[in-house]
């Protein structure tokens, strides 16, 4: 595609297509990583969703959250759709926070990941283990939930470093308002 002669709308569409293709590839890469090995693993989807939601709108974020949630359910053996509900909430909240309150920087990604992954893991611990009053649920909390939160927070750094350049390169620059253009 000849971007130099393309209209602004064409550019926006082209960038969106490339951006979302890369996002989808990253989502599937996360699904593959979640299936590798038997040790405790981070929930890669949480920081990935937060990073993507930094600049995207509410609707794409909700769809992304739903898909990622289903993938988490498939890889972690949860009831299909359970994680989708939580991840959709996480994605939409992230969009709103980044739109109105937070700057797009790595620190915000880290603490948001810490909060959201803690919420996800605590809900998971409660619904899957504690609620059924199984003997020794503390083991799951200490040896699975907590390490998973920690690993997810650590994983948020490389994920941010992967997503940020994509957004920087393939997100159309904001169009200038008439007054700004006049000044130029």
């Amino acid at each position: 595609m000849d971007l130099k002669n393309a209209t602004r709308l064409q550019k926006i569409r082209y960038y969106a297509a490339v951006r979302w293709t890369i996002y989808i590839l990253l989502v599937f890469a996360s699904a593959v990583l979640m299936n590798v090995g038997r040790s405790v693993k981070p929930i890669y989807f949480i920081p990935l969703c937060i990073c993507i939601c930094m600049i995207e709108g509410e609707y794409p974020a909700a769809v992304l959250g739903g898909v990622c949630g289903l993938l988490i359910d498939a890889t972690c053996g949860r009831i299909f759709g359970y994680s989708s509900v939580i991840i959709i909430a996480i994605c939409v909240t992230s969009v709103l926070l980044f739109k109105h309150l937070l700057f797009h920087n790595i620190l915000n990604i880290i603490w948001l990941t810490a909060v959201f992954s803690s919420v996800y893991q605590l809900l998971d611990y409660f619904f899957m283990y504690a609620m059924w009053d199984y003997e020794g649920t503390g083991y799951v909390f200490r040896h699975i939930s907590l390490p998973s939160i920690l690993y997810t927070v650590i994983a948020s750094v490389p994920i941010y470093l992967l997503v940020k350049p994509v957004q920087k390169r393939f997100y159309p620059k904001k169009s200038k308002i008439a007054e700004e253009a006049m000044k130029l």
Binding site: M34, T75, W132, G136
Partner: protein, 347 residues
């Protein structure tokens, strides 16, 4: 020139030559054995030789590399390709070997248990992330005749149960899960109980047999098999070996910690028993009369395989009866049920 041959220097040189010639002649007469003089000289010279030889080797190697670098590069590439090809063949060979071994074992299951209807060998395609019970997914589903709650086995013993079936895949819950209850029977002592997973034991890859009569004689190393009471699991299939025994907190029953015969984390292939004869076996189960799994499974450590006591023999017909001698001390509805619970997780 004539001066030199007449000089003292020439004579001295001649003497030296003669001396060495003498040494040479002496050495010849030693018939291959090193003379003491040569030993002395050689022992002094050897480190120097070694050093100089090393240097010359390296120099010649560098020169050789410099001259023949292109040839070596080509040869290296060819060899690399050959090695890669051989490695690929080796991997293929190892895969086929392990597949054939698995198939042989599975044929053994069928031969020993003619009443079993088995699915085709199933390969584990994924394991659930962050799951303490080792739940996994196999590549066979309803189109291969697999149904919900079908037992999953290997030739070594029971692995678990099918908890989700799709057309082309199924999810297997292992016996480490507390959601699974299996009627268990100790081969040596004839004591019965319910084998259940427990979060605290799942970490070590173990499960627990509960509701065992307090007056049991179960000991470490005893073999636990399925009792087949409910018809959910085939009778006499190996579950595992007792590693520890104790009294429940309530003080009413005993429990035994069991190391499953199959380490679900290390297997790659399993089989699903899609159907089996649910009627009582013709031959009662005794330590010497077990199926393939029991024959092939080896206890974790040397076990005492003494014959069951007289008391045990009296209980040999208990397989279809209440598993405990004293039902008052247990919860009968739980003991008789060897079931997979409802989705709510309740027994």
């Amino acid at each position: 020139m004539g001066q030199f041959f007449k000089s003292v220097r020439f004579k001295i040189i001649l003497c030296i030559t003669a001396f060495f010639l003498g040494i040479a002649l002496f050495s010849v007469t030693k018939d291959g054995k090193a003379s003491s003089s040569s030993q002395v000289v050689n022992s002094i010279l050897n480190p120097i030789r070694k050093f100089s030889n090393g240097i010359s080797d390296k120099v010649s190697l560098v020169v050789d590399l410099f001259i023949n670098a292109e040839d070596y590069e080509k040869e290296n590439q060819e060899l690399r390709q050959k090695v890669a090809g051989l490695n690929a063949r080796l991997i293929e060979y190892e895969d086929m070997k392990s597949e054939i071994e698995d198939l042989r074992k599975f044929i053994g299951i069928k031969e020993e248990n003619e009443d079993f209807e088995l699915s085709p060998p199933c390969t584990i395609i994924s394991r659930m992330a962050n799951d303490p019970y080792g739940t996994f997914v196999i590549d066979k589903g309803s189109k291969d005749g697999i149904e919900l709650y079908d037992p999953v086995v290997t030739s070594e013993g029971l692995v678990g149960i099918i908890t989700e079936v799709a057309k082309s895949y199924s999810t297997v819950q292992t016996i480490l899960s507390p959601e699974l209850s299996i009627g268990g029977l100790c081969v040596e002592s004839r004591d019965t109980g319910i084998v259940e997973g427990s979060l605290s034991f799942a970490a070590d890859g173990k499960c627990k047999m509960i509701y065992i009569d307090k007056e049991n004689t179960i000991k470490e190393g005893d073999l636990i098999i399925t009792s087949g009471n409910s018809g959910q699991f085939p009778q006499g299939y190996v579950i595992g070996y007792v590693t520890e025994t104790g009294i429940e907190e309530s003080g009413l029953n005993s429990y035994a910690v069991i190391k499953p015969a199959v380490d679900s984390g290390k297997i790659n292939n399993v089989m699903v028993i899609t159907d089996f004869d649910r009627s009582e076996r013709e031959n009662p189960i005794t330590p010497g009369n077990l199926g393939t799994a029991a024959d092939q499974a080896a206890p974790p450590e040397a076990t005492d395989t003494t014959e069951p006591t007289t008391d045990s023999d009296n209980n040999s017909d208990n397989l279809q009866d209440d598993p405990t001698d004293n039902p008052d001390e247990t919860e009968p509805d739980q003991i008789d049920n060897e079931t997979y619970p409802t989705e709510s997780g309740e027994d």
